[in-house]
Assembly symmetry: C2
């Protein structure tokens, strides 16, 4: 077990692993008990120091209940953003754990993690960190396992109605992520559409397909739904609506397929669960919000402690390795 962190707030770069992570203790569907449990896993098992932001009395009580008093730092925030609240209202809650956490992370140059809601996290993070110069809109990136490695899906839900210019820019952000985080030297980028021919797609995709050859990425052309997990390209670019639907469709499809295999008695459920875990929210842990002046990871709203911990590890790694992401 690592030595306990100091009982004052950690400072930037205080840890060999690349500094602490700021975690919204009140985010997610399951409440602070789960988030605090995840933070303790991140610290105890992965050596990531976590600063928990939320209602101090609630968070301290959870730390006490879980035997973690003094292990993690807590910063008080009066308010909470309800998961179903409209994004515009969430951003206005300056005293909520989400905004207080974002501001703390920005001041300290630390990565920030929250389990949602996604819309509120994106809006608050943009407000607090600001967009990198020339970035029109941030995008969420998720690395999906393929037979041969990983494919980055971008945008997985940051911007539901992007313009063609934004979509073309997501290609650049996704390629940076593939280079910086996955170590792909010259990532190929595909535009998700309904046919591989250039003219195929909806209006948005047809417009973006005309812009992409001029972007500073290795543009492969259009790819289709079956290409996402086939490893056809390193980065699959799509709008945040389609990307979010595809991401959740994959989760559900893996579950249904393995369920059919198990029910047919073709394999033991234990090992099948290992395959399921590859595509479960608990494994990829979180989506990186690309294009901001800071590192932000959005964990799934239904995250359990393992997913919260994983999101903290990913955020720490992104902050360390992901120069320019």
């Amino acid at each position: 077990m690592p030595t306990p962190p100091p009982d004052h707030a950690p400072t930037k770069d205080s840890d060999a692993g690349g500094g602490f992570v700021v975690l919204d203790a009140m985010g997610g569907d399951s409440g602070p008990a789960v988030v605090v449990a995840g933070a303790l896993v991140a610290w105890r098992e992965f050596g990531v120091p976590v600063v928990l932001v939320g209602r101090a009395e609630v968070v301290e009580r959870e730390l006490g209940r879980q035997g973690g008093v003094g292990e993690l730092d807590v910063r008080h925030a009066d308010e909470v953003v309800p998961m179903a609240e409209a994004v515009a209202r969430s951003v206005a809650r300056r005293g909520a754990s989400l905004m207080v956490g974002c501001e703390l992370a920005r001041r300290e140059g630390a990565p920030f993690v929250s389990a949602g809601s996604t819309g509120a996290v994106v809006a608050c993070a943009v407000r607090a960190f600001g967009r990198r110069e020339s970035v029109l809109r941030p995008a969420l990136a998720v690395a999906l396992p393929t037979a041969a490695g990983s494919t980055v899906l971008v945008d997985a839900g940051g911007t539901a109605d992007p313009s063609a210019e934004m979509l073309a820019q997501f290609a650049t952000l996704g390629a940076e992520y593939a280079r910086g985080v996955l170590g792909v030297r010259d990532p190929s980028v595909g535009l998700l559409s309904v046919g591989s021919e250039p003219g195929k797609g909806n209006r948005l995709v047809r417009d973006a397909a005309r812009l992409l050859p001029d972007m500073p990425v290795r543009f492969h052309g259009n790819v289709e739904g079956h290409d996402v997990l086939a490893g056809t390209v390193d980065v699959v670019v799509t709008d945040g609506f389609t990307g979010n639907v595809v991401l959740k469709n994959i989760e559900g499809c893996v579950r249904t397929t393995l369920g059919m295999v198990a029910r047919a008695g073709l394999a033991e459920t234990g090992p099948l669960d290992e395959v399921a875990r590859l595509y479960a929210a608990d494994t990829h842990g979180g989506a990186a919000l690309l294009g901001l002046d800071g590192t932000v990871v959005v964990a799934h709203g239904s995250s359990g402690p393992a997913a919260i911990a994983r999101a903290c590890v990913v955020a720490r790694d992104l902050a360390v390795r992901g120069a320019g992401v």
Copy 2:
């Protein structure tokens, strides 16, 4: 083996199975050899009489090569629509197998089948058959197997950029299909989005969500990507772009998942192939084009003989059972 069909063109309702099917012999990626093979399977194994429309000398030669001279009727069409051709040009080819086939099917009240391209089939079918009264745009419906039965995905690629009014109408068409073809008495309809709360989604979905409670369907509310195969609702409504991406994403995801199971040595590949087949284009065979004054089935461009045969059987069944679809 059924008795050979008459060597003159079959007439409407000449067969107990519900009349003949008109098949575009020149459609699909693989050419007439595969389509003719599929037509022979449809007739020999399923008793569906097929009229093949295409270049007579090519089709007759294939029938000869496959030992099927005289078994199926052939109608000559001078031209062919290339798979990658722009839709506007395809519709202008009045002498192509696609348009000649559509016109023949309309005149004879017979169902029509083609393996694409999808865009060209939709455009030519709309031109030839016309839309049912008050139908704004046709939509493609595919029945996907779930653990408990089937879910109808609509639109699976008919209209890439529908309006909210069109999307709301797809709900009615999908529910008709679920009732008429799958026998679901009071089908529930979900709107595919990025969150289950009413306000979630892109502009199109948020607008459609406001219209759907007033449509004559049992509207469940929003569903998400993981609901498509979970059997959450009987009908999943989405735009043709997202629907096509989701459909192909499922095909790819099932393949990838089963590949991982096989590579991990968890099960024999033979039985796994059975599961894969459930979601392969070869099994569902085709998508029904809803909203027209006639029955049209679009087979996958990569269809093999089994998929072509299956599409013919589905078209025959739709024409017999699918009153109002």
